[in-house]
């Protein structure tokens, strides 16, 4: 399960930045229940900044409702941020303006819902090639279908004639055919069974090596994220609480939430790594309508202190490329609590 891939461009000149999110905020106003009530809103994404270079993959993990899918929609430009900036592509166009220009493409969770049941595979894939001449379009659609490992006869089939894995390959073909700078993979393998997941992840890695496209890989499944990502951001209640290189996820995690998430990752019986304490979080995430005043994780944190409840921590760089938003970074580790003041975590 260890990640032994090396980033394609670890040394030499850095590839260009294709995604630059600066302090993006997205609030959804709620309907007022009475006239005297102040207008309230859901803080779906609350001040997220990330950058991604061409040919690299940024993983985003978190529980459902943590704002990761909203962040994805901001990146694709399907929604515009309430404040902050989301720029995509080599020349830094705002995502909303780039939306539909082919700079960003997306692969969604449920392939059955992502394909129009009344369009043949070829038509669906060709949809990303508006304004391209017929001959070239046909050629590129053929290439894309072949690139995702489907035979040409799939082109004239309808989605309901395909299996889930085949449908997802078609979605990927549609995403790559327009040669985008960035592809958003929103839970793209979550609905597939384990063996198919592995196949699709391999396919995605191969395509990235061939085309140099950057990926934003959103999932609640930390294992899948770690496998494909160069850098992983952990989100909690609309904020990034830790962003670390994928290698750091084996031992070097600093934020208690990230540690808890990592500790519950299912493992194959004995993979040679020393046993991990399982940190079970109690309670539900607090409401995104009225987030806690101090650290947002404080109500559920096993190593919480009074200070945490009063003052919200900032996202700071612990080591180069490793950011964390915590007052006590590194005090909870995978081997257990360093300064034990939490309940006894159950053993795996």
């Amino acid at each position: 399960m260890t990640d032994d891939r090396t980033p394609p461009t670890a040394q030499g000149d850095e590839p260009e930045i294709v995604l630059d999110v600066q302090d993006a905020v997205r609030h959804y106003p709620l309907r007022r229940r009475s006239l005297r009530e102040p207008r309230r809103s859901v803080h779906a994404v609350d001040g997220v900044s990330v950058r991604l270079r061409s040919g690299r993959t940024l993983g985003i993990v978190g529980e459902s409702g943590c704002g990761k899918s909203t962040l994805g929609r901001l990146i694709t430009g399907l929604e515009t941020p309430t404040s902050g900036a989301v720029r995509v592509g080599a020349n830094g166009t705002p995502a909303a303006a780039a939306s539909g220009r082919g700079t960003v493409q997306a692969v969604f969770q449920d392939p059955a819902s992502a394909l129009d049941p009344r369009m043949m595979v070829r038509q669906s894939v060709a949809e990303a090639l508006g304004g391209v001449g017929r001959d070239e379009r046909d050629r590129r659609v053929d290439e894309a279908i072949a690139a995702v490992g489907l035979t040409p006869d799939f082109g004239s089939r309808y989605p309901h004639e395909l299996s889930g894995g085949q449908q997802q390959r078609v979605c990927i073909a549609r995403a790559i055919v327009g040669e985008p700078d960035l592809i958003l993979l929103d839970e793209a393998v979550s609905s597939l069974d384990a063996s198919l997941q592995a196949q699709i992840l391999d396919l995605l890695e191969r395509l990235q090596r061939d085309t140099g496209t950057a990926y934003v890989f959103i999932s609640h499944d930390l294992r899948a994220v770690r496998q494909v990502s160069h850098s992983v951001a952990v989100m909690y209640l609309g904020q990034v609480v830790e962003q670390a290189p994928a290698e750091a996820f084996d031992r070097g995690l600093l934020h208690p939430y990230a540690v808890a998430l990592r500790s519950t990752e299912p493992r194959i019986l004995d993979d040679g790594v020393e046993p991990v304490e399982r940190v079970v979080l109690r309670g539900e995430p607090p409401s995104a309508v009225a987030p806690p005043a101090g650290c947002r994780f404080a109500p559920r944190c096993p190593i919480v202190e009074d200070h945490c409840r009063r003052v919200a921590p900032d996202l700071v760089e612990a080591t180069p490329g490793h950011l964390v938003r915590c007052h006590r970074p590194g005090d909870l580790t995978l081997s257990g609590v360093a300064r034990a003041d939490a309940g006894t975590p159950a053993e795996v």
């Binding site: 539909g100 969604f108 129009d116 369009m119 979605c171």
Partner: protein, 293 residues
Amino acid sequence: MSTIAERRPPSRGVRLPRRWPVRGVVANIALSLILLYVVLAVLGPYITPFAPNQVGAGPNLSPPSSDHWFGTDALGRDQLSRVITAVRPALLAALYAVTFALAIGTVIGIAAGFLGGLWDGALSRVVDLLFAIPEYLLAILVIAVMGSGLVNASLAIGIVCIPRFARIARGSTLSIMERSFIDAARLCGRGRLWIMRRHILPNIASPLVIMTAINLSTAEAAYAALSFLGFGVRPPAADYGSMISASQQYLLTDPWVVAFPAIAFVVLVLAFNLIGDVMRDRLDPRSRTSAGA
């Protein structure tokens, strides 16, 4: 078509009764009846034994005989000829009304569902408003302003039917909008018109077709009622509603003058009703999810 029909929702624990096999037979009978009426409407002028408006084609109010199979009316006009001739306005009225309502209602519904926001608010208000007027009152007021006649009466009925199409089109559009292929098409750079035309319209076609079938019978009955009240094609042209209305006073003495146009009309509406009912089952609870999706 088939993909939608095949994707039945999973059973919900209780065993549902099997569909009755006669369903197909019922639908076939209804369809052949409608086909018969269509043939009569097309061939009408060539097969009527008398000119439909020919006064004194036989003695006044003569009962059915070998010369006049359906008898004659108070002016001695041949009833069989008139019953056959009246098929055409009856079918045309339903066709005009439903086509009009389908076209306008679909556009309103898709626009409201797809554009959302203020558009949805405004369009839905208009539709609610149309719904809030008693149907016949609305139709009669429209006719009062535009004047009577086949086309105007059909348009009046069409206006009355618009909200039904608009609502179902809006609802189905909203359910399609939740599917991510709409977002995918946006990311592919497809404009609103393309998405509405290429993605939404084909996917909401089945509920609209069903709605069309249901509304044909309503429109048919409504036109006859308006014609009965004197708002249909102008006399002396043959029209079921006006024929029945004109012959009403002879109901007690010479019932056939009312009976034949009434039977011809009721059978036509019944055929439309049966088709509508078979189609309605697709919108009904057990298959609602598949029709909406």
